[in-house]
Subunit: 240 residues, 2 copies
């Protein structure tokens, strides 16, 4: 049930990445897992949240909703991402398990103490937060200025790069991607309607930029072609 930290798939990516043995032992002693099925709510906006957690496997979303029901995803948590803000006790967003989800959790108070006593963990959390902020700023550009087509292409490149990063691989020319999100969740991520998402995916398929195997598996024959469709500066990514 309880995976030893040494064998954890996110050991060198998560908030505990830079921990040495003594800290790791302390974490290991107090950690516990939570599992959620796809679609389940982890916490609702405004609800008390008395644990912090790393995503071990699966995907979770953070969403905000306007009074009239319009919703925007504001965070997509992939394995190794960290869930929660120290020093705050209720969630400002809805957190939902997008796929089956495994969280490695710690009670909030003890973790906050550890954060004070261990500069290494604090530094790692700062670093991860700064990465999140950079990602959010790229996302602002996407939402504010990109066309629907560019949004879809950008989203696919983001997924492909995140995936390559986790597997410590380079993004090759040919990429096979399993979309973790429904068309509706993609629409919430991209600030579009699900119909527009569907249409743009169809258009990219018609033009040979991508191919589909079923509804959820995307084959990208030429990753650079996809990047070119994303509207980003060509030099943003890895060579070849």
């Amino acid at each position: 049930m309880q995976l030893p930290c040494e064998d954890c798939p996110i050991r060198y990516r998560a908030v505990c990445a830079t921990c040495e043995t003594p800290e790791l032992t302390e974490l290991e002693g107090s950690k516990y897992y939570r599992r959620y099925e796809a679609g389940q709510t982890v916490v609702l906006s405004g609800e008390r949240m008395d644990f912090v957690a790393s995503v071990v496997s699966g995907i979770a979303s953070l969403t905000q909703t306007l009074e009239d029901g319009r919703t925007q995803m504001v965070g997509l948590l992939l394995p190794s991402d960290f869930l929660w803000r120290p020093g705050r006790d209720s969630s400002p967003y809805d957190v939902t398990a997008v796929s089956d989800l495994l969280l490695c959790c710690f009670r909030r108070r003890p973790f906050e103490g550890l954060l004070r006593s261990s500069p290494r963990i604090a530094a790692r959390l700062l670093d991860m937060t700064l990465d999140d902020l950079d990602a959010a700023r790229d996302w602002l550009l996407l939402l504010g200025r990109k066309s629907a087509r560019e949004k879809i292409a950008s989203f696919l490149t983001i997924l492909a790069r995140r995936d390559a990063m986790l597997r410590q691989a380079q993004t090759p020319g040919l990429v096979v991607l399993d979309l973790p999100l429904t068309r509706e969740a993609m629409a919430d991520y991209l600030g579009l309607t699900l119909e527009t998402v569907s249409r743009q995916i169809s258009a990219l398929r018609r033009e040979g930029v991508i191919a589909l195997d079923g509804k959820r598996r995307v084959i990208v024959p030429d990753f650079n072609r996809l990047v070119a469709e994303s509207g980003d500066d060509s030099d943003g990514g890895l060579p070849s």
Copy 2:
């Protein structure tokens, strides 16, 4: 020329907010000021950046630009905001002085050392970064799901609240705001064109939600009315 830290207008809001006398003395010894005129570039994207800084007065923007010239603002730095990411030596964004700007600067290397030796400063920086991340996430909602009209109303409420925050006041019913941005810069912030910004401001004026005194001074007779136009949950702000 050199303002003593005790008299600094952002003493209790900036990254140094929680510093005690010894740390403050160390900071005070190595700080230096930089001034920029409205419109001047602070750093360009990709350029080496060997200092970190707090905004003392004035406003700076962070912007990203696509190859074809479309630009999106991704950060608006007001007094007390902190400029730069420790551990990275080139800026990922263009930083521009929107108004006349005064920065309180520290050389990057020594500051990074201080960050390692002073948990108080590190904790403060984490806290500020988390605030930035929350603000960025609200911004995602604005860009992804709000109408042009709601975007303008939201922007005005954000400015009013930030202003009240700095002055430690409550946002009263009647608010007078000086817009720090041109219509074009507002458009870059909101993911609109400058014409749409102008039209929506005119529409809000026609309907009495706001009044204008010149092009840049906005009078809000009823702050709650403005908030209602912003599309946000009504309970987000301060009472009355």
